[in-house]
Symmetry: C2
């Protein structure tokens, strides 16, 4: 009975890790990074590099690079265990916190650069005359305003406490 449970759990975990990795590629995150994140999110204990390598059949270099990146993002913490020279890693498990971290990163990669471009193009054409130039400038301005608005919304929402976000959401969904 116990064995059957273990078996099912193991299977579900494996499925989760594999699928989450595949999903990562859709999100512009590399497969290994997403897999490691999934692995650590569902691990009851912090894992060391070799454990991660073995679980995912990944090379040392790959495991290392992606663990580092996850730590960089703040999705994973490094843990030191006294009397053990290895580095251990554990994932942030709170979904709201995970969300705010990912939102911040995506904003940095996707929204901020767009804003910079739009700003520049709007600025460079703001004094030009002629219908075409004015149409172009207006289009840039509209895009800029919208993206800037999205940027502010993103900041605002990610800095909310979970409870407040839920409260707000119920207003929107309700």
């Amino acid at each position: 009975m116990k064995g059957a449970t273990d078996q099912k759990l193991l299977q579900a975990k494996e499925e989760f890790v594999a699928q989450w990795g595949a999903l990562g590629t859709q999100w512009g995150i590399n497969r290994t990074m997403a897999q490691i994140h999934a692995l650590l999110m569902t691990s009851p204990h912090p894992m060391c590099t070799d454990e991660v390598m073995e679980s995912l059949a990944a090379s040392r270099g790959n495991a290392h690079a992606n663990l580092k990146e996850l730590v960089n993002w703040g999705l994973v913490r490094m843990i030191v265990i006294k009397g053990d020279r290895r580095d251990f890693y554990e994932a942030e498990k709170d979904v709201w916190h995970i969300f705010t971290i990912i939102a911040r990163e995506r904003k940095r990669r996707e929204i901020d650069p767009a804003l910079a471009i739009l700003n520049k193009c709007a600025e460079e054409t703001k004094d030009l005359k002629g219908v075409e130039a004015i149409a172009f400038h207006n289009q840039m301005k509209q895009l800029e305003d919208f993206v800037s608005f999205a940027s502010k919304m993103s900041d605002r929402v990610s800095s909310m406490r979970h409870g407040f976000a839920i409260q707000l959401a119920s207003k929107i969904l309700g």
Copy 2:
């Protein structure tokens, strides 16, 4: 004087197209597709395939495939001009409409599949006993709840009229 304006406008457009293309890669959209979209968004008239090819120095196959994909997304419309056999294309220019289209597409590619995985993994482990199994199931459930919530929010917001969205936003930002 007129020449200088034309020059500046042309430069700004070129910059916009090039940079928007580069940005596209960050968004998981291929460079050419993003460039064509930028080109059409800032074109005062519908363009035919050859015009697009020439503007971007892209091959026919590439231009064709990406125009098709943009039409698929709904970001670009095909235009028929009487007495001309060529297909012409023009972009959706309203920013709110563009946003809702992109949001829908990203939801389809990023949120829906995640939900499917989480659903499956939560379902498969809901009857298991043991602390580990329960912890795993809870983690899946929390993720599922959150992603499902995000999904609903996304639907709700993208189906809003622009005016209503702004009104809502002012509540959040204000």
